[in-house]
Amino acid sequence: MALFLQQVLNGLMIGSTYAIVALGFSLVFSVMRVVNMAHPEFFMAGAFGAYLTIRYVTANFFGVLAGGMLVAAVVGLVVERLAIRPVRGRYVLIPFIATSGVGLALQHLAERVFGSDPVAIPPVVPTVVYSLGPLSVTRMQLVTFAIAAVLMVGLRFYVRNTKWGRATRAVAERPEVAAAFGVDVDFVSRLTIGISALMAGAAGVSIGILYTSAWAFMGLLYGLKSFVCMLVAGNRHIEGVMVIGLLLGVLEALVSGYVTSTLRDAVAFGVLVVVLVVKPNGLFGSYSV
């Protein structure tokens, strides 16, 4: 029983990062009808941003988090300007291909700048282990979960209760009408990409610190898992993607703990296969592209 609960706990911690990466990805798709294949690179940029911040600025955790998120946001805005804005509204596969190209370029750019080997990130959060009965959790795991929780709650609040959040929902549904009532759709797009990048960046900082390393290709696996989350959850409600992200983390942890840890990354793909076979078109049915 204790093993089960421990794995569930571990899974929730990691799952929270899947959730926020998936949320950002899903948000951009809902609002802009764009599958941003460079989204995982925002995650990677966050981790490297954390590395650079620690190296050149400060080792204070909040500073590192801010630094990482900032770098991710900058990368996000560059990607938006270069690969998304010029193609918005065109034949739907074009942004997919364009962002794939940018993603590819960014990965190898990171490889060129930082090398092909993972870069070590010193622990800026002291390794403290908390015990809750038979269960244990590290401080960094808690911090990771807290950051993700704050971001998720913040996003939900933003979308439901703020003027720009409303405008974002309006643009997601009917961009022309929103524009006719005064909404600057380009600005909303930039804002949305910025938010998605900030969230992915925060996840990147968390994972980078948790695993004490950053790597040019670390986005690949994360990107695909968040992509699976989005496919499974559909796009109707933000909450769905969050829940699926957490569930995926838990599922992975359980498989890792009870079956074999080498299959951990395969869980997402197993889910993907099942979903594709069972409901190939249905999950995107709510937003016909």
């Binding site: 599958v35 291909i97 190209g101 370029a105 992509f227 496919l231 078109n281 995107f284």
Partner: protein, 273 residues
């Protein structure tokens, strides 16, 4: 003279193999669907061919045929799966398929798992590659002017119209997918027997994107396009002494720029006249 040969032979062989796989992608995409699974299809062919020659001592030509058969069947099934999907979901499905294959390969120890399948005998030579490439180019040329080729292009332009014209869209899409996949698998077998290693890292989405760029850059409407794209983009970086990372940075940027500014590629049917 032999220095030149030792430098250029690998480059030319790689360019030739890339052209073959690119042509496979071209045929698949000629009926419409975007495929980012072709690296995985090539890899599957590579794995099967390699296992057959290395572990079972099969003669190389038979291994090639087996690889192509696997590619064709897989491609056909994949094509059938995506026939009714809208293009974005179809593309994403090929993405999912490719990545799933890569993960499966990663986890099967019999074929090497994470450490890749090694010990493959060297069977691929420069004349062989270009001999095969010549055959494929000829086949692609005949394809472009065949009824299937026209049907595929009609389907690509508009499924609804093609349907109304009496074209069996389902059959055209899946059959072209199958053929394209078989050719990609052929490329994969050749590659495996040249590099002598077949691993899961060559099967992923971004590797497929690397092949996509040959088609998008070179031209997706005429068979010369992917050939031109693959040859140019494989050989030019070598000529210019780009490092591996620079090459991919350029590929990525080029893909983005091309798809935004000239999605039909450099070589179109009009420019051929």
């Amino acid at each position: 003279m032999s220095d030149l040969a030792t430098f250029w032979t690998p480059v030319l062989i790689t360019a030739g193999i890339n052209s073959i796989i690119a042509l496979g992608l071209y045929i698949t995409m000629s009926s419409g669907p975007l495929s980012v699974a072709h690296a995985a299809l090539a890899g599957m062919g590579g794995y099967l061919g390699a296992v057959l020659t290395t572990n079972f001592g099969w003669p190389f030509p038979l291994a090639i045929v087996a690889g192509m058969a696997l590619g064709f069947v897989t491609g056909l099934l994949l094509g059938l799966l995506i026939v009714r999907m809208n293009e974005l979901v179809a593309g994403l499905t090929t993405l999912g398929f490719g990545e799933t294959m890569a993960v499966i390969a990663f986890n099967i120890d019999y074929i090497g798992g994470a450490n890749a399948f090694t010990g493959i005998p060297l069977r691929t030579t420069l004349p062989l590659v270009y001999g095969v490439l010549a055959v494929i180019l000829f086949a692609a040329w005949r394809y472009d002017h065949s009824r299937l080729g026209y049907a595929a292009r009609a389907t690509r332009d508009s499924t609804v119209t093609a349907d109304a014209m009496g074209i069996n869209v389902t059959w055209v899409k899946s059959f072209t997918f199958g053929i394209g996949a078989a050719i990609a698998a052929l490329g994969g077998v050749l590659r495996a027997h040249y590099i002598l290693v077949q691993g899961p890292e060559d099967m992923g989405f971004f590797v497929s994107v690397g092949f996509l760029i040959f088609v998008v850059f070179g031209g997706s409407y005429v068979f010369w396009g992917p050939f031109f794209g693959a040859m140019t983009l494989t050989i030019l970086p070598e000529l210019l002494r780009f490092s591996a990372q620079d090459r991919f940075i350029i590929y990525g940027i080029l893909l983005t720029v091309m798809v935004i500014l000239r999605p039909q590629g450099l070589i179109t049917r009009r420019s051929m006249r």
